[in-house]
């Protein structure tokens, strides 16, 4: 699997992402600078990592979403290419119009940095093939603005079309306001685009892939992508 990680000024999770991609796919990703206008030929997966692009100035992800490389990412997504945005990457995809809605300041106004539990809502997407529907995984979050919101019509569409892929939940998989850390509507932690080829999520699956860290629950996402691409090949 040939992956590419897009790097913006102020991003700080690109090396975690690159390390995980190398471990799981066996190949180091291409690191693509924000001023580039093309993705490397033969790219199977584009990842927009987490961090604080442009210091979160204006709105989280707003400036990065308008950089030159994003036109290439948009073109790639339109053709059905797989795009994963994590944390600031999710915010950037929303600002770029590749995913609907927006990530607002956490309801409790705090920066939240700890492990969370996620319920995997579907296993029949390219990103969740490595999990079972209903499975609960533990992965970390680190964000101040992860409170997902969209207008009522958009939320109804996302829910109706089964495009909510991850929700914040209790350790036993219950949706409960006490476990919905940032106050996201319907406890939404991750959504996919209409065609299902673009995933945005606030938590960091790339940080839970090695046993030494204490959890390997994030592995399934990357292993599932590898399997998806192997089957397509």
């Amino acid at each position: 699997m040939n992956s590419a990680v897009v790097v913006f000024p102020g991003i700080n999770r690109e090396r975690d992402m690159a390390r995980t991609l190398k471990i799981i796919t066996g190949r180091a990703p291409a690191m693509v600078w924000h001023t580039d206008t093309q993705l490397p030929p033969g790219t199977d997966l584009v990842v927009i990592p987490g961090g604080f692009s442009y210091g979160d100035y204006l709105r989280c992800g707003a400036i990065a979403a308008r950089s030159p490389i994003m036109d290439a990412v948009r073109g790639y997504a339109v053709k059905g290419g797989l795009v994963l945005g994590v944390c600031n990457g999710f915010q950037i995809l929303c600002e770029a119009g590749l995913l609907p809605g927006v990530l607002m300041r956490n309801e409790n106004l705090r920066f939240i940095c700890h492990d969370v539990y996620l319920r995997v809502e579907r296993s029949d997407t390219p990103f969740t093939r490595g999990y079972n529907a209903g499975q609960v995984i533990r992965v970390p979050v680190a964000h101040g603005e992860g409170n997902y919101i969209a207008d009522g019509e958009t939320i109804a569409r996302l829910e109706g079309e089964g495009r909510v892929i991850f929700r914040y939940c209790s350790p036993d998989g219950m949706i409960d306001p006490n476990w919905n850390h940032n106050g996201a509507i319907n406890a939404i932690a991750g959504i996919v685009s209409e065609r299902g080829n673009v995933l945005g999520m606030m938590p960091h699956p790339e940080n839970h892939v090695e046993a030494a860290i204490g959890s390997t629950d994030g592995r399934g996402l990357f292993a599932g992508l590898v399997e998806t691409l192997d089957r397509a090949a």
Partner: protein, 80 residues
């Protein structure tokens, strides 16, 4: 030419920062404040003297970058 773009949250969008400021005013003993909503102001200087053109340009700029119209409204004023 000077202009100002004001970006505010749409009504119905929860504003946690505005709520926190509202709470702070209350704890300062300020009475009579029933609601606070936080927004942004952009003071912009432009070449040229055609206010109609400036307004059109700033609307474009606000749509493109300054506001996220999913959650925000904006107002453009070309200042005399």
């Amino acid at each position: 030419m000077k202009a100002r773009v004001t970006v505010t949250l749409k009504s119905g969008i929860l504003d946690p920062q505005g709520k926190a400021i509202e709470g702070a005013l209350r704890s300062l003993g300020v009475e009579g404040v029933t609601s606070v909503r936080q927004g942004k102001v952009f003071d912009i200087e432009l070449d040229g003297a055609d206010s109609g053109r400036a307004e059109a340009l700033l609307k474009q700029v606000a749509d493109k970058l300054l506001a996220n119209t999913v959650i925000e409204n904006y107002r453009v004023e070309v200042l005399p």
